[in-house]
Amino acid sequence: MDGFLPYLLIIIPALAAAVSTGTSILYATLGELVMERAGVLNLGVEGMMMVGCLASFLGCYHTGSPWFGLLCGGVAAMGMSAIHGAVCLFFQGSQVVSGLALTLFGVGVANYLGTPYIQQKVVGFASFNVPVLSSIPVLGPIFFQHDAMVYLSFFIPPLLWFLFMRTRYGLALRSTGENPEAVRAAGISPSAVRWSALMLGGFLVGMGGAYLALASMRMWVDNLVSGRGWIAVALVIFAFWRPGRAVFGVYLFTGVTAYLFRVQALGVGIPSSFLNMLPYLMTLAVLFASSLKGRGSGAPADLGNNLKPGS
């Protein structure tokens, strides 16, 4: 019993760390999810996060307001999204190529422009305990002893669910991801729907980048995003394109990582390479189990296809 207790005790701090490190990925995952539900595959998340990250840092650095920084980050990533929209929706270019180019461009340009600011600090979002809620045992430390952007992120998944399932716009958005021709026949412009999804999703991805600069690090360092954008792209698939499952997927990933980090610190003799492997093994297991259910993966039928012009 005595040997077992430490492993239980570190679960709570591990989960708390999972929530704070997961927030950035959660915003990005939800943003990518919005775009993909409308049928646009955007592999540029990594680059968009980098640009959003730098823009938010600069916004906050020069005004001292983290909220203004957050806005800058979202809008900058929206601009990146608009490039993707211009290439794919306007010029009918390949969504995969455009997305990859966006990543290379975004990472490069943000690192270049950010060089003068390396090691510079910003005010950022400070942690504060939510009154009452933070004193609930277990749940309090895990969920309610963070910063404002974490609390904000709790509201986004239910809002997205409501948008998708309970509004006219959501129905059109989901339909556009499945069969844009049917949407056109219903008198709605699938192109307009995809543009709007790119903008909304782009803003969310930008918030994911902003979290890293304004809440996680509160300073600028090189290559701040370091692959989180790609994890977000993978998590959308893991989540079967559903916001609720995205939350679960994000916290699972970051939770397992954070827990194992702490287990190792206790001096356990598990090979660290096996521990590193575990989140991905879990992903495989969950994907396998879900496919046994036989409802299909839930991928939008028209994902990654360009709209046929005219008609």
Binding site: R168, L171, S175, E178, V183, G298
Partner: protein, 555 residues
């Protein structure tokens, strides 16, 4: 049946009580030189079911696409409620209360029936699935279109999906509903249900126009019948004026019933065969050289003149979702064209698949060039074998994303391979020559298959298949959807090919069968009703009846 007789009794309403909902005045539509519709006048009355009857390519679908706003007429006008309207898009037609149920449904498989029906017409920004289901359930009950509003569309049968499409139109308050060959995808029971729903809609004041070439259903359901032939309305009458299918068939086929009347073709329409072209570029024949007779392994025996190139005896195959094939036997020799004539969905597809080795037989045997079918397809001689012109040009016969050279090579690659390597240069030259000689437009061999119109794609496919000097040809609805010029060109090619091969022509078009075939086999519900020579005038007169399955009358 009592419901039907009641309905037909009430059909000839005196003077069409009010003014028609929609009137087409002098509609003409040309595609290049082809006249798809010419000076068409048609009125559609409230609460009436109008059948638009005609053969393939008669211009029915073009006319209805104009009415539904998908195409714009070159001349003439559309008058709705006495007011001249111009439809620039299907949306304009919807606003005027005109909607169309297409053969290919535009539905979202992964979503519910209610979502599909109400997409774009939800009413408020916030939606409630329960209320949406309720609305759709009410609508479907009102018109007798049974379908579970909560069901996922992907899990529905074709008949149910069609009901969803109809509900979409009803939800938009459409007053004129156009059905493009609605029963083509339905089982007989589902077709019955559709007819009931159509009557229900008509009783509630909706106008129904339905396109068909099936005589029995036209007689069963319609109040008025208009017959289109070659883009013109040639006849207009109420249901009560035609006593039976024979009379309707006579009116539909009209003067086309006799063979050879209408086609006086010269070599002119085959550009490749004219002398003027010969000098300018290397011809297909030169590129290909002489194709020696294939070395067929096995019995190694060549067919004597009179031996059949294709023979079927007692062929049976069952299919889950169709009528299958029951005890079909016939044989085709070199120099003969046998037309397998029937309304689509009577087992033709299964039979062709069996011949082409795509479907197993339950019993019976098929022999191609004196080899059992499976043996033949194992060896597949590169030329001198069987040429197949599939009905599905874009799906089966070609790859939309490949260029014309690759599409050309799909079945001819063995002729261009040397030591296992493709001679692409020669293939390119051959494709260019084929494009020139068969008048394929646009004439760019680098164009993708999807960039060609149906007619031009078909010319390429026909040219490709004939290049292999086949001794047996299966042509499945080879002119469906083609314009008149392309159609006659394909016909002429087949006539020339007949000299060196036996041809099975699968068609639903009586005039095509009469124009080309030496023998006719009428197929109904997977059985050959009768097989006879085109010279047998008495039987030719009864083709329409046989196609409708009235075997007793046909006897």
């Amino acid at each position: 049946m009592s419901a039907i007789s009641q309905h037909t009794n009430s059909a000839p309403q005196p003077g069409g009580s009010a003014q028609p909902v929609v009137r087409l005045e002098g509609i003409s539509k040309f595609f290049g030189q082809v006249r798809a519709n010419y000076d068409i006048h048609l009125s559609i009355g409230a609460g009436r079911i109008k059948a638009l009857l005609g053969e393939n390519g008669a211009g029915k679908s073009t006319l209805m696409s104009i009415l539904a706003g998908r195409l714009q007429p070159d001349f003439g006008r559309i008058v709705v409620d006495g007011e001249h309207r111009v439809f620039r898009s299907p949306k304009d037609a919807h606003l005027a209360g005109i909607g169309m149920v297409y053969q290919h449904f535009m539905l979202i498989d992964s979503m519910s029936v209610a979502d599909n029906v109400l997409l774009g017409h939800e009413g408020s920004f916030r939606i409630s699935p329960a209320k949406m289901r309720e609305r759709v359930a009410k609508l479907s009950a009102e018109y007798g279109l049974e379908v579970d509003p909560a069901a996922r569309v992907g899990s529905l049968s074709m008949g149910e999906r069609q009901r969803v499409e109809i509900l979409k139109l009803l939800c938009r308050q459409s007053r004129v509903l156009i059905f493009d060959e609605p029963t083509a995808v339905l089982t007989p029971t589902e077709a019955e249900q559709l007819f009931k729903a159509m009557r229900r809609m008509a009783e509630q004041g909706k106008s129904i126009v339905f396109i068909s070439h099936k005589l029995p259903e036209v007689l069963e359901i319609s109040d008025e019948i208009s017959i289109l032939r070659r883009g013109e309305v040639v006849d207009n009458f109420v249901r009560a004026q035609v006593p039976d299918e024979a009379e309707l068939a006579r009116r539909m086929l009209g003067r086309d019933l006799r063979k050879g009347d209408d086609i006086a073709l010269s070599a002119e329409i085959l550009p490749g065969s004219s002398a003027s072209d010969a000098g300018t570029a290397q011809g297909l024949k030169e590129i290909m050289g002489e194709l020696p007779l294939p070395k067929i392994k096995g019995r190694g025996k060549f067919l004597a003149q009179s031996e059949p190139v294709l023979s079927l005896s007692g062929v049976r195959c069952s299919a889950q979702d169709s009528v299958g094939v029951h005890d079909v036997s016939f044989a085709i020799a070199k120099g003969q064209i046998l037309a397998l004539l029937g309304v689509a969905g009577n087992g033709q597809k299964e039979l062709v698949e069996a011949i082409c080795g795509l479907r197993g037989l339950d019993s019976g045997s098929i022999s191609i060039l004196d080899h059992p079918v499976d043996e033949y397809w194992k060896m597949q001689p590169p030329h001198g074998g069987l040429g197949y012109i599939p009905e599905d040009r874009r799906g089966v016969a070609s790859c939309p994303d490949l260029d014309l050279v690759d599409n050309f090579l799909l079945t001819t690659r063995k002729l261009f391979s040397r030591y296992g390597l493709l001679d692409r240069k020669r293939a390119m030259r051959a494709t260019k020559a084929l494009i020139r000689e068969h008048n394929v437009l646009p004439g760019n061999p680098k164009a993708k298959g999807s960039e060609l119109s149906g007619g031009n794609l078909q010319k390429l496919i026909v040219g490709r298949e004939l290049l292999r000097n086949p001794r047996c040809i299966i042509a499945e609805n080879p002119t469906q959807g083609l314009d008149v010029a392309a159609m006659e060109e394909v016909w002429q090619r087949l006539r020339i090919a007949k000299e060196s091969s036996g041809i099975l022509l699968v068609t639903g078009d009586v005039s095509e069968a009469l124009a080309l075939a030496d023998y006719l086999a009428v197929i109904y519900r997977g059985k050959i009703v009768d097989l006879f020579s085109v010279e047998d005038r008495a039987k030719v007169e009864r083709i329409g009846l046989m196609m409708a399955g009235s075997a007793s009358l046909a006897g």
